[in-house]
Symmetry: C2
Subunit: 280 residues, 2 copies
């Protein structure tokens, strides 16, 4: 695996790959990799000639007071995981490489960014959209891989690519879970043992919501069901339980077609999210 | 010259050009071409293997009440001009091709868009930035050509490309003028004979400002000089005369380095802009 930190260098390497007619698959990450990221790399490996992974903890998608500084980092371990998973290129730019001057360009999707995560993190998806667009311009992949775990991010990036005519296949890879159902997340490392034991309640509640939806209940009812299931676990403080259209992120009450059930909650100082998508 | 209206078709044609290792030069226009556009095509022709010109009157950069509907169009004549100028590919999408669904993505550069043109056209550069980014994603050129006549647009596009890591050489081509100094513009066709006779006053006033700047006067003085020169012509209603940094579009008073003198004015119902850049 080749490792690059400079934009010009990764661009040069990908330029020759592209001139040889090799397809490029791209997995953007914030590092501290887990089996969920590995699934993204494996999906890219199976479909693309050159697999590029980026590790960049993007300050722009963290608000003041969020965990940018303390976000877990372990680049030694990440390199080992990626080498094993068969990535060809690792791009690890510094913050100064990606933001060398004050950013005067704003890229945002206000309608998709106001609900769910956007309610407590109003600038988050502007940061996501900006860095994803920059990374896509640097890597210019044929396919890019995102995890369903960040369901609203998937909606934002998909619409960004469609609206701006980015000629890219967006691949969404199912959420990878622990055996007790907890969705893998780099932030799981923050959980105390007691919080870790409580955390699978989020997914269990989503599954209860799923049953309610399959029984034909309305969106508001399904959300209330999820909320009640989580309320039974005293270590979890619910942020939201929502039933939305997975493309528009708008609440859906009459449930048919694709429906996303989404939750966000705090366990102590750790904020976790999870979701499932149903086809009704 | 090949003519394409569909995004997928022009992309396919450019894909094979690119695979053959041919460099791509791109000239985005709104059509109704004049010698200023021809200078852009000639610059591209001299430097690039494949020259692509787009003609698209972009509704997003016109505000309600502006001249989107009446903006002059003559695609027969445009094709002849481009064939003669040696363009290889003409891309003429419809509004429905470029905006097939509600646009949820906003691309803007507020700091560069508030001054000068932005004061009377607050949404203009958001429209410009959005369509330029979309067209660049469709064409993905090695070089793109813009006219210095739209000096603030140059600043916006340059910063857009820098901020978003678009790997593109931006080429800025000097303003082409009539023999009496009037900057070529598709909107000159709106002028009555009397207005046409008055119009060169704009450039004459910029040259007076230039003399004042070369004499060591301050920015505010130079702007006042330009304003006074235009005030002598009763057919012209000045919108602004400004002395700014050509990159930041912020007013410059102590004049050194690169300085842009810019004017906008109305002649009857026609709004014209012009500028010159000095190195002091």
């Amino acid at each position: 695996m080749e490792v690059f930190t400079r934009i010009a260098d990764v661009r040069r390497a990908l330029g020759s790959s592209r001139r040889e007619g090799r397809s490029i698959g791209f997995v953007p990450t914030m590092g501290y990799l887990h089996a969920g990221h590995e699934a993204l790399v494996q999906a890219a490996r199976a479909e693309c000639d050159t697999v590029v992974v980026s590790i960049f903890v993007n300050p722009l998608q963290f608000a003041p007071g969020e965990d940018f500084e303390s976000y877990p980092r372990d680049s030694e371990r990440d390199r080992e995981i990626l080498t094993r998973a068969g990535a060809d290129i690792l791009f690890m730019p510094s913050v100064a490489d990606i933001y060398p001057r004050p950013l005067l360009t704003e890229v945002s999707l206000p309608e998709l960014s106001r609900t769910l995560e956007g309610r407590t993190r109003p600038t988050h998806f502007q940061g996501v959209a900006t860095v994803v667009l920059k990374l896509l311009h640097i890597v210019w992949p044929d396919r890019a891989y995102f995890g369903q775990k960040d369901g609203q991010q998937v909606a934002v990036v998909r619409r960004l690519c469609d609206d701006l005519d980015l000629p890219l296949d967006l691949r969404v890879v199912p959420t990878v879970r622990e055996s007790d159902g907890l969705a893998l997340s780099s932030r799981n490392v923050y959980l105390s043992p007691a919080e870790r034991r409580a955390a699978p309640t989020l997914y269990a509640a989503l599954l209860q919501g799923r049953s309610a939806a399959l029984e034909g209940r309305r969106g508001a009812d399904v959300a209330a069901e999820i909320e009640a299931a989580i309320a039974r676990e005293p270590l979890i403080r619910l942020d939201y339980a929502a039933v939305v259209d997975p493309e528009t992120m708008q609440p859906k009450d009459a449930l048919q077609g694709r429906v996303m059930l989404a939750v966000a909650a705090r366990l102590g100082r750790t904020r976790l999210i999870d979701n499932i998508v149903l086809e009704l």
